[in-house]
Symmetry: C2
Subunit: 289 residues, 2 copies
């Protein structure tokens, strides 16, 4: 079982137009391929919401910095098309870079006040690349709904804001993170982990659960919660190098000192070649499950 492929902007637009003429609503699931169960859950959610689901598969060069893993980013087109088909996608939009960036985009879409912190601090230009390519995909596919995963919390926050600020006529839907049975958030970059690193990687999610537990027990100091997470990671993921652990306002992404309202706890940890991220909403008002 495989999924039809569209390689050009003209072709995907024609397919979308035919489906609209048939009365179908349209969903877009933007991905960089190397699809895993998290992507499949997005595609299934899209199919439940809309009659025609477009999955874009495009490793976007402009969101990778120099020295990042653009060239080596996992690519598995055949497996991706099978995943698209079994999850309910109607078509995979798989443009070559030249279809998207010839001529190169001189135009930049950005949300500066949400992009300098968290992942943006160590990946300058990353979210400009993300916003710009997603704005292009929105205009190419013109979906009614666009679905993103909560694992990339900052990205989802920025894109929801971008869509609202620019009045894109669509709904941004953010779906829950899908996890391995031990709690590790699904990510295409998990493929980079060796066996030993994979065992340590579970410490990210554990540290988030710890943060929730502490807040639920009445700990209000974001600094002490972060410190406890740091110590947990040092113990359980000794090969990990922490990029950041931050406790922020869920909308503004501004750092929070006192956990007296719902906050978002986020972290990024380098483990071997992989840079892993995860996050969790923590509500001070009630104990974590």
């Amino acid at each position: 079982m495989t999924c039809p492929v569209s390689e050009t902007i003209a072709d995907i637009r024609a397919r979308v137009a035919r489906s609209r003429a048939d009365g179908l609503s349209v969903a877009l699931v933007p991905t960089m391929g190397a699809l895993h169960a998290g992507h499949e859950s997005l595609i299934r959610a899209a199919r439940e919401r809309c009659g025609f689901v477009v999955v874009s598969i495009f490793v976007n060069p402009t969101q990778f910095g120099p020295g990042e893993d653009y060239a080596s980013y996992p690519r598995s087109p055949e497996a991706d098309l099978e995943a698209c088909a079994r999850s309910g996608a109607a078509v995979a939009f798989m443009p070559q870079p030249a279809e998207m960036y010839d001529p190169p985009s001189l135009t930049v879409v950005s949300v500066p006040s949400l992009s300098g912190t968290l992942c943006g601090a160590s990946r300058p230009g990353h979210f400009e690349g993300v916003c710009t390519v997603v704005a292009k995909l929105f205009n190419i596919v013109q979906p009614d709904q666009a679905l993103f995963g909560a694992k990339d919390y900052q990205q989802a926050t920025i894109l929801r804001r971008m869509a609202g600020d620019l009045n894109f006529p669509l709904e941004v839907v953010v779906c829950p993170t899908v996890r391995e049975t031990d709690g590790l958030a699904m990510s295409s970059r998990n493929r980079y982990l060796s066996g030993g690193q994979r065992a340590q990687a579970v410490a990210l999610h554990e540290s988030l659960l710890l943060a929730g537990r502490l807040a639920g027990q009445g700990e209000r100091s974001a600094g002490r919660i972060a410190q406890a997470m740091r110590e947990h990671l040092a113990r359980r993921a000794p090969d990990g190098r922490i990029d950041y652990i931050q406790i922020v306002d869920p909308d503004s992404l501004a750092d929070v000192d006192t956990v007296d309202r719902p906050v978002q706890v986020l972290l990024a940890v380098r483990l071997g070649r992989a840079r892993l991220i995860d996050n969790m909403r923590v509500d001070a008002a009630r104990p974590d499950r």
Copy 2:
């Protein structure tokens, strides 16, 4: 005779949707009001191209710098609605600032490489404000065509690039500058001119004609052409303060030293309260008419 008004995003979208359902194509003419014969020519051109013409009238605060004329920019809504009606507009979209910017846009659309020169050099942030509000208008109205005047050459160049780069599903149409009988380019800001200043203002267009004449006579030095324009302005508009005179590549807006191909000649001159701009294509290959 007046024109129906739409004040909300929901209402203008509903009107556009009804017209589309009736099989009409849709044109957008974005303006800041204070409509003059140049705007009317855009509206008429739009009506010749599309069945349903939306004129947006919105003095966009984010494209004015501190100390610029946002508060005093001319506003003439009743006359504007008459102009819309007699030129063939179907509806005027006249949102209040809060309809467009509550919450404020954290998202910025920009074309940095085309925005730092010419008017962008003396109006930092201006073209970011223009690009962002036009992206919003494109997404609100979702027109098939959007029409802009050639008088604002840099703006038209930037917006055409933005629309293409971001794959907006519409055509950007740039229409010729409309001039007073003595050659002064129509502009809402001409209202700022006193009688004496108005007489001097014609020197802008004269200096452009001079540039064309010199190039047509074989002058290839952009520097000498600009110098001749400068001298002409000093003589004919002694109260004018030149902001810039530049001879650039028509697409990249990069300065040109040798006029051995078609170039764009642009200038901005402050005259009393008014900052006037004008421009002309100059082709080295044949004498100016």
